[in-house]
Symmetry: D2
Subunit: 347 residues, 4 copies
């Protein structure tokens, strides 16, 4: 069996989660997220983000979180702005448009949005009422390219959004990886202070399923639960989500798991760099995009699974490697061994 | 702590499910329902329904299943017909309408639809193109009132739908309870043969989450997966659903659990009948609606939780009791003890 | 050629409208409702409703007006309440649901809603967040049954809505007929003061097309034009609508035309009453529903077109007769002549 | 009063239309497009396109036509491809997305789509079911940039669409101008043979309002009328649309009007070319985009209204001039006079 670096959701969940599910299994609890575990998990999150007034909901997955948040906030004629690499644009089967809203796409080099990217879009949408009204900015951290926002960048973007009457929504499917990156200077508390809404992704960081939507802007909190239910996201056994986030949030397991994933990716990154390999983008999270020869790709493919991301020329392609909370040292070492075996050391 | 008869999703899941989740936890598997467990679970279901050509998808919950099925099949101007007690009408926050489709409601005594109920609705919708076009019939088995369809009733309804160019969709959130009712003569194979689409509910029958949508009508199968993804229902770790249905379908655990729930409900029902209590509807599944005095309600409420369903007069109300795969003999006996203690034996 | 009493939109438009279209035809004007005629027509309306702060938009038809108003005001999980005879419920091909919103239907005897009708609906929708949230009341004046609201009734309903945080929206497709009914004590100014939104129907009262949406509640005015455009209702040559309302509003032509239609209907009504005929509902507008024998229906059908509305028994049916701004005395007299010829005078 | 070259819908309608509206005004006719004029107008169109089996509907405007056609044909997960200049993309307030469908945008030099433009989009959407499914190609003729398709180009695109299972939909808001361009070799009959659906725009070519949707592909015709009604586009007095198309189609008035508009634009174009002026795109319809100095723009603005389309550098900008069925020789001559006065003759 080949080891897979295709994504960070190949395995089940962290064993502590299974253990908690077992421990609490036969307790009778209220349904629909009113169980004691969900309530406790929300308290943990409020503490971590230092916002007692946040409104928190657990849902099953990222696409679900995105479509509920966006469709609940925008009026019918309003739209959301996203980097062209944004998950909502190309990887969600038109889920946002299916709720009636256009996504305006912005090309970027690194998957991150800045005020200077957004200004021309706003200026290009002044022909009232013949065009949609931009009202929300969607960003991801870490991004779909593995890059991250610095505290300064997020602050500037947040300020810009406030000045321009735009909501700022951060997709945190890989929030753990973003915040625990060795080069990140951003904290979860800052994320909460600088965004109107964001979510903490569990699925890609050790949970079976689950994303925690956190609504910081109190003007967006009213009646939000109706949206969860209407979109089919309100689990009867909400305890399944509550228990998972209870385990992840307690003692910062969530961040430890992400840090592990990042660290394993960095080991491969460094091994490749030592052999002179270049990367499609310079990332410090659990996604790396090395550009290697077709020959090396072939050799690695004998023992590992991964995506060939982008053909660079006849001989070289960028591949995407993703590590997870469960990626073992053994897998990393085996991978590096092939690299070192195949690529000459730099003099 | 009071014992709850409020619903059949108060507990976690059957222990065999947790055990399987643990056993398979660290295996790497493909995402999005392409894992080995999901594929095997689908094979089991195909065998049980005796239809190798069925198309099967696992999703998280009933509202999600309903909205995906209905919105994927109907054209924008088509609508679905439901009994007024139908879950889609009053208990899903307008989830169906949110996808653009009207639900036509029919009052019934027992929550079941018959051709004679539907004919007037069809006749009342002939003013083309000024009215929506009825195109689907939605039924539940067991129904929201705990009643069930006989094989003959379902056959007649199915024939009627075919003659009238209507799709027949069965909500099976409590399919296990319906089919294992002591008075049911309907088989799962018949359900599959007589409906265009139905689903098997896991959430209310021992799973953590999960409903298995089964598309029998091959003309409705094309591209169905897109709908799952677009509505945010495609879990990255589809294994969570696959493993659960694998356990439930193997050795008919699914039906054993439902049979247990029904049996426990019937114990209470019989105890009440022996004491002369009447019922709002005559059910043989895990939902019963006895009409009892406010005084008895008060006494029972000291030790049990349940819904007061409908006020009958100043002194009496119908309550709803729901049993589950996990309802213990102890809880049943305690309940019956109070009844026997409070209600005089009939001479 | 038979004369038609089937509806009030069988003819073209009042000649003064055609004359104005000709007079202004070759003037160049701004598009999209910014033409001088539209602006002037809006001023006329603001004067008549005595509200300088109303926001006014002209659209092509009633279904369009209904779907734009309702979808622009409600949040995704909110719904609208309507009498079961409401045009939005059965005569608009699910247009409201197609924008994502459920309509809650209330059975009434006369097509009118009162607080006592609405209270049980509100009480039946308290299971948050599992049910849609009622947020708007939709009424028509005159109603689809030809009945009208008194000033007192509308005031009470308006007060009730305010107390219960519900918007009140009046469909005025036949507002002219409602307000000029001989028994009406309601004024247009009162309608504007007591509703959040209403519209003045032109199509059924002498215009070629056109309804004037009037938004009285200033909190609902922001950005409304976007909704008009998004739903395809913003005419490039908005002048077509502006000129028509200019003509209709000037010198109260709008009300004169409606009064004529009502008067012609009353002539037939009185002739029938004198011969002892009963009516399905007691109306004083341009719609009447006499219950007559099949034999008489046959005789009348030789010279007139009308709808047979409802079969009462083997021998009698209610028919619907609608008069218009253009119904001639000759047509009325011919109709009455047959009645008097066929029905014996009462002793 | 300045003369406006801002658009082709500044005036009312061709006098023959007003005359016909007057002639037929008091005839009683069936509503909702079943009037004699609409039926006759459809016959005329069927003859002109040489397709007795086409299905034809008249609606009020272009955005309405676009949203009805697209939403009626696509399944929820399917999307439409458009040139980035397409009217549906930037000028309809998200009308298409509001019906649930994504638009994929393609950058082009001239506003026209070719197979080579579309292939990469199809190839970029193979990640089933995580991406929307491209299912329709939307084009305009003449385009939003005034350019046109040759018969060969349309044939190639049509063949490509058939091979790739894509529907081809042509927006014909300016179809008259496209087909009567001096360089066009495309006929209306060819358009009908090569597209699945198209529409003939009346609003921008001498009608008060009105676009004729023509469904050539018989598999798309079933129940189409429901969509018209549901989107609020079914006029009670459909005669208004029918009479207009009756006049426009009889004796080819439609094409004569467009030819006049084109001819007037070409007069200005040629005058500018003679003085050495360049154009943003080389058009032969009623839209021209000359690049002129700010000084000349200022001089022209004293007597004419037009849009400054695009700033080229500090001193020069492209302006957009649109002529109409009603643009007089006098206006053209006055405009040319200023040009000749301001720009030196080329030696």
């Amino acid at each position: 069996m080949k080891f897979s670096f295709k994504n960070d959701y190949s395995e089940g969940c962290h064993p502590l989660i299974l253990q908690a599910l077992s421990t609490y299994n036969l307790d009778q609890q209220a349904g629909y997220g009113e169980d004691a575990y969900s309530l406790q998990a929300k308290e943990y999150i409020k503490e971590k983000i230092n916002n007692a007034y946040a409104d928190i909901y657990f849902v099953s997955g990222g696409t679900q979180a995105n479509l509920i948040v966006i469709s609940s906030i925008l009026k019918p004629y309003q739209c959301v702005i996203s980097a062209s690499t944004g998950h909502i644009l190309n990887n969600e089967t038109g889920a946002i448009e299916a709720t009636g809203h256009k996504i305006l796409s912005i090309e970027t080099a690194d998957g991150k949005l800045r005020a200077s990217d957004i200004i021309p879009v706003l200026e290009g949408h002044r022909n009232i009422p013949h065009q949609v009204m931009p009202k929300m900015v969607y960003i991801s951290n870490s991004t779909e390219l593995g890059t991250i926002y610095t505290a300064k960048e997020l602050k500037e973007l947040s300020d810009f959004c406030k000045e321009n009457n735009l909501y700022l929504f951060m997709d945190g499917a890989r929030m753990g990886h973003g915040l625990t990156s060795e080069i990140s200077d951003l904290t979860l508390e800052q994320v909460a202070a600088l965004t109107d809404v964001f979510y903490l992704g569990g699925t890609k960081n050790g949970a079976l399923i689950g994303e925690a939507i956190i609504i910081n802007n109190q003007s967006l909190q009213e009646d939000f639960a109706f949206n969860i239910k209407q979109k089919g996201a309100l689990l009867a056994k909400g305890r399944l989500l509550g228990i998972q986030f209870l385990v992840l949030m307690k003692d910062d397991l969530y961040f430890d798991l992400a840090r592990h994933a990042n660290r394993q990716a960095m080991k491969i990154k460094n091994a490749l760099k030592e052999r002179g390999v270049h990367f499609l983008s310079d990332t410090y999270t659990n996604q790396i995009f090395p550009v290697i020869s077709n020959e090396l790709i072939e050799r690695l493919s004998e023992k590992f699974e991964f995506y060939v991301w982008k053909k660079m020329d006849e001989d070289f392609s960028a591949i995407r490697l993703i590590t997870s909370w469960n990626t073992s040292d053994e897998a990393i070492n085996n991978f590096i061994e092939i690299i070192n075996d195949q690529l000459p050391a730099i003099q």
